[in-house]
Symmetry: C2
Subunit: 192 residues, 2 copies
């Protein structure tokens, strides 16, 4: 399969629709997708965002997973997820991880254990990529959550049993990558 | 945070942009998102699609993971993922799982081990939901891949070592949920 051309259909600030013409097995087709990029074909290897899976270590307690409950406008409801955000101009992935986990949870990056390559959120609909970062964090004096006006975020610190109950909840809404991380720990039987 | 109203911005067949007005802390804002639904607010609990993580069992070999390499138009390239697809009218999740794994890989559903609730692919951009299904499959006489004209899919059967190498590949493109499933098995140290 190959792409013959891409046309921009809308003129919004943050997100637009595009129509791609493709050819496959001698036939052509049209595929409409969404992108945050001004020119999707020119930025094929960029990383748009990070999703951060933080484990909180304190002297007093076993490790706890830092989960957030956030209102998402496209969903019209609160969903369980992890700290996340778009890379800002000039930022690399590690800088975004450090900034977002601090802003959204008031916790400080100690160690990055694993960062994935930029992963496609849902590649039939969009070229958006998100790197998953598994990290350790700590609490510190003077650290505090500092949200933007468009953010409505509650931070939950879950021990292993609480995390397993959340993973099994059938009445909760989850970010897909976040649920996959919960399921990973549940199958592993421990946090690390 | 609450939604005050949602306006449809485009009139495409498969995917559209919408603008939501929201109120939070006494202020209002506008959030543009993409949806496959005619009316996003009226269908908040539906499941749009499934992503299937199949393990192939044969008498001769240890279990192998069934991964696909598929051309995705929004990405403009091939990405590693798992069999997946939209629920058709009147289908339940299990029926879609059985149909899609057969169509895309020619393998037959034997057992569903776990199905998640509908998960949000990327909830800052879209209300799309995908249930993740972990299943066992088998090969059978007469079973064969049967793709639609818009599909360009190669099926890979990976043993555990091959799966780990793919998970660590830095030059490969992945669906986010698919990479999370590879990472789960890699961390687990076995397929089940």
């Amino acid at each position: 399969m190959e792409i013959l051309g891409v046309e921009k259909l809308t003129n919004e600030k943050w997100l637009n629709l595009f129509a791609a013409q493709y050819r496959h097995d001698g036939k052509t087709g049209r595929w409409v997708f969404a992108s945050r990029k001004p020119d999707p074909q020119a930025n094929k290897n960029s990383c748009d965002a990070v999703l951060i899976v933080p484990l909180l270590h304190t002297p007093e307690q076993p490790p706890r997973l830092v989960v957030i409950k956030e209102f998402r406008v496209p969903v019209g409801d609160y969903i369980y997820s992890f700290p996340a955000g778009l890379l800002e101009q000039g930022e690399n992935i590690e800088e975004t991880v450090r900034r977002e986990v601090l802003e959204e949870t008031g916790l400080e990056l100690v160690r990055i254990k694993r960062i994935s390559t930029p992963l496609y959120s849902t590649s039939g609909m969009t070229d958006e990529t998100v790197a998953m970062a598994f990290i350790d964090v700590r609490a510190g004096p003077g650290l505090a959550q500092s949200l933007e006006g468009s953010e409505d975020i509650e931070v939950l610190l879950l021990d292993f049993a609480q995390m397993c109950r959340l993973c099994d909840a059938t009445d909760a809404r989850f970010d897909a990558k976040a649920w996959a991380a919960l399921y990973l720990y549940q199958q592993l039987g421990r946090f690390e």
